[in-house]
């Protein structure tokens, strides 16, 4: 499959990228690792006239601890996140999710920024970043602005990014010590997108949920928080009965899609089962 013709512009800096996007407007697309954009272009679902490649921009590939946050350069690959000691220790949810994206070759090329900007409701990072209350640094013609995750994922394949803006950094609040996280993804084959997935992060102290965050993938047009489960657990005892009852609320208020992989009812069922399993995993031995 061959994409439609386009002109290729490789830029070396973020301001150059912003200038090219401003010049070509809707006719242009930003290319990072290319593992969302190139497949769409090959299917001719995306036919930009200009592709602005930020893959060679220096200093957009890093994972670092900042004041109270872990910061990810937009070009950080899934592989780097999967294997980062800092991420494994501080944000095990993200390391867990990264390790389940695509396959090793895809994880070598795909980037966190690209996957976030793609805003696929069955994507893994959007749910994690919403669940973790991440914030997004975006640079456009009028300078930099910060978008909260709750405002970033606007709709199916639609983020709050404007056509002339470049996502440069994603920051995730560092959780308290001893916080656990996991991403449970249900799919039929290992490379597939999630039929449903659950992102969970919990801080358990004295057998009580001090902090609890649950997110859902592929349960609607955008990633979602399972707010009813969170409310049912916050401050409550981390015992099997409480977990089971709370997990039953996982699909509350959702409108999951119908497709070849499953019906809405099947997805609602999966959401409750995966939520329970995630909570059991996070509280085991606590």
């Amino acid at each position: 499959m061959i994409p439609a013709s386009f002109d290729y512009i490789a830029v070396k800096t973020v301001p150059e990228a912003v200038a090219e996007l401003a010049k070509h407007g809707d006719e242009s697309k930003l290319l990072a690792g290319g593992h969302s954009l190139i497949p769409l272009m090959k299917l001719r679902l995306s036919t930009p006239s200009f592709v602005v490649d930020i893959g060679r921009v220096k200093d957009l590939n890093y994972i670092r601890r900042t004041d109270g946050h872990i910061a990810f350069g937009a070009l950080t690959t899934h592989h780097d996140i999967e294997f980062s000691d800092l991420v494994k220790e501080q944000l095990p949810l993200l390391a867990s999710a990264a390790s389940q994206i695509g396959d090793p070759q895809v994880r070598n090329r795909g980037t966190m920024g690209g996957a976030a900007a793609h805003a696929d409701p069955s994507g893994d990072y959007p749910t994690c970043l919403l669940t973790l209350d991440a914030e997004f640094d975006v640079v456009g013609p009028n300078g930099r602005r910060v978008i909260k995750a709750s405002d970033f994922f606007v709709g199916t394949f639609t983020s709050a990014l404007q056509p002339d803006e470049v996502l440069t950094e994603i920051r995730v609040p560092a959780p308290p010590a001893g916080t656990r996280g996991t991403y449970l993804k249900f799919s039929r084959r290992s490379q597939d997108w999630a039929i449903v997935a659950v992102a969970a992060q919990a801080t358990v102290k004295d057998r009580k949920f001090q902090e609890i965050r649950i997110g859902l993938t592929s349960m609607g047009g955008t990633p979602l928080r399972a707010s009813a489960v969170e409310a049912a657990l916050r401050g409550k005892s981390a015992d099997a009965d409480t977990i089971r009852k709370a997990a039953e609320k996982a699909a509350e208020g959702t409108d999951p899609p119908q497709d070849l992989n499953g019906s809405p009812d099947y997805r609602r069922h999966l959401a409750t089962v995966l939520t329970r399993r995630a909570l059991e995993q996070l509280t085991a031995g606590r």
């Binding site: 499959m1 061959i2 994409p3 439609a4 013709s5 386009f6 002109d7 290729y8 490789a10 290319l31 290319g34 593992h35 190139i38 497949p39 272009m41 090959k42 592709v51 490649d53 893959g55 994972i63 592989h79 780097d80 294997f83 980062s84 000691d85 695509g102 396959d103 090793p104 070759q105 895809v106 070598n108 090329r109 290992s190 490379q191």
Partner: protein, 169 residues
Amino acid sequence: MRHRVAMTINGTQYEHEVEPRTLLVYYIREQAGLTGTHIGCDTSSCGACTVEMDGHSVKSCTVFAVQADGAQITTIEGLAVGSQLHPLQQAFWDEHGLQCGYCTPGMIMAAKQLLERNPKPTEQEIRLGIEGNLCRCTGYQNIVKAIETAARTMAAQAGKEVKAPAAVS
């Protein structure tokens, strides 16, 4: 508009004009003339087109040739030294790790990355390491055996010092 790209493939420098939409796998096969890398699904699923780009295994159907400008590429043709097969090639032969052979170049390139990162993988780790590669003959059993055998050969060749996984950042 055409772009001039230059890259090193298996130690040889190649330079050509390409359309920006030219995918790396087509560049490797049709312009560099190296047809060992196969095109299977052409949709980033099957892994037949796997090559190494700057030390990382990639699906070359999902990379534009212009993105590989200046890169170091290794394909299946770059593994043997003269008539001496790479331990993975030899092990795929010895363990019958191929039937029709179509997936083999990609399988071996994916396995090479796996063993560089994890020289002593368990069977489960091998299966996860080749999760991006499909064998339609479904001969996975012998492919896994071949990778186990190659891991032992490579460990023996490296002597007693088996290196820790390399690509951890």
